[in-house]
């Protein structure tokens, strides 16, 4: 089990795969894994493990 934005989720895979599953646009997010930012270039190589806590922030346009 991992925790994404406070909600429990059964998932194994990379950050990029998690974004796909949750239907996030990878160009419009910032991802924190256990309180450290995940560099965008590392989404495909960063594995999410059991017990990990992620925050995914999605940005919308306008300003």
């Amino acid at each position: 089990m991992i925790t994404v934005n406070g909600e429990k989720l059964d998932f194994t895979g990379t950050v990029a795969e998690l974004l796909d599953v949750l239907e996030y646009n990878g160009k419009r997010v910032a991802v924190e894994l256990n309180e450290n930012i995940v560099p965008k270039a590392d989404y495909g190589s960063t594995e999410v493990s059991d017990g990990d806590k992620l925050e995914i922030v999605r940005f919308v346009g306008g300003g």
């Binding site: 160009k27 419009r28 997010v29 910032a30 924190e32 309180e35 450290n36 930012i37 560099p39 965008k40 925050e55 922030v57 999605r58 940005f59 919308v60 346009g61 306008g62 300003g63």
Partner: protein, 211 residues
């Protein structure tokens, strides 16, 4: 007759308290994008007496900006950094304005933002917002970012909030309404979001990190 620097400082210190005003006057804030959000945020921070404002934008004032951005009709066609420097100087003549007429991206962010304590994200495009937040945290994990996300249309002003979504990332807005949905941007609602952002910036300067 423009008041002296001492008179301006004393007027602020009298209202905000000397200790707090010292902190505000020595703060350096980068306002990234000086459109609807950033122009209002820069003005709020200048009025509070923030010592240095680093204003960054590549764009010129357009007639379509006048519905919500703090420029004057005769400034259409000017670079926003030039027009905003002039407007801020009229409000706060002793605030140090550092204008950078450039488009921020992954390549120039490390150099351009290294001296700013607090980073205010005030771009229009969702992708640009994400690039800024990611690049700043990848290069400067110790900095604070206050971002705006979701203030389009005319939904209730009460849906706009400040949330602390990461240790050093605060997001102001409703998190949902996207300008791409075609609902437009109104000065009133953009100013609510800009008010949230500038207020959180001042709270961080004051040493209070709770929303």
């Amino acid at each position: 007759m423009i008041p002296s620097e001492k008179e301006v400082y004393n007027a602020l210190a009298e209202r905000h308290g000397e200790d707090l005003q010292k902190k505000i006057s020595s703060a350096t804030v980068a306002v990234c994008g000086i459109g609807g959000l950033g122009s209002n945020i820069a003005i709020a921070l200048a009025r509070a007496g923030v010592g240095q404002l680093h204003i960054i934008d590549f764009d010129r004032v357009d007639i379509s900006n006048l519905n919500r951005q703090q420029y004057f009709a005769e400034q259409v066609g000017l670079y926003k950094t030039d027009a905003m420097t002039e407007n801020l100087h009229r409000i706060a003549p002793y605030c140090r304005i550092v204008p950078d007429c450039v488009r921020l991206d992954e390549n120039n962010i490390p150099e351009l933002l290294r001296n700013d304590d607090i980073i205010c994200e005030a771009f229009d495009s969702a992708e640009a917002k994400a690039v800024l937040v990611n690049s700043v945290f990848e290069n400067f994990p110790e900095k604070y970012i206050i971002s705006g996300s979701g203030m389009a249309g005319l939904d209730s002003a009460n849906t706009i909030t400040t949330r602390r979504v990461m240790k050093r990332l605060y997001i102001c807005g409703d998190g949902q309404t996207d300008v791409d949905d075609g609902t437009g941007l109104f000065s009133s609602r953009v100013m609510v979001c800009a008010g949230h952002q500038s207020n959180m910036i001042l709270r961080i300067i004051a040493g209070d990190f709770n929303v």
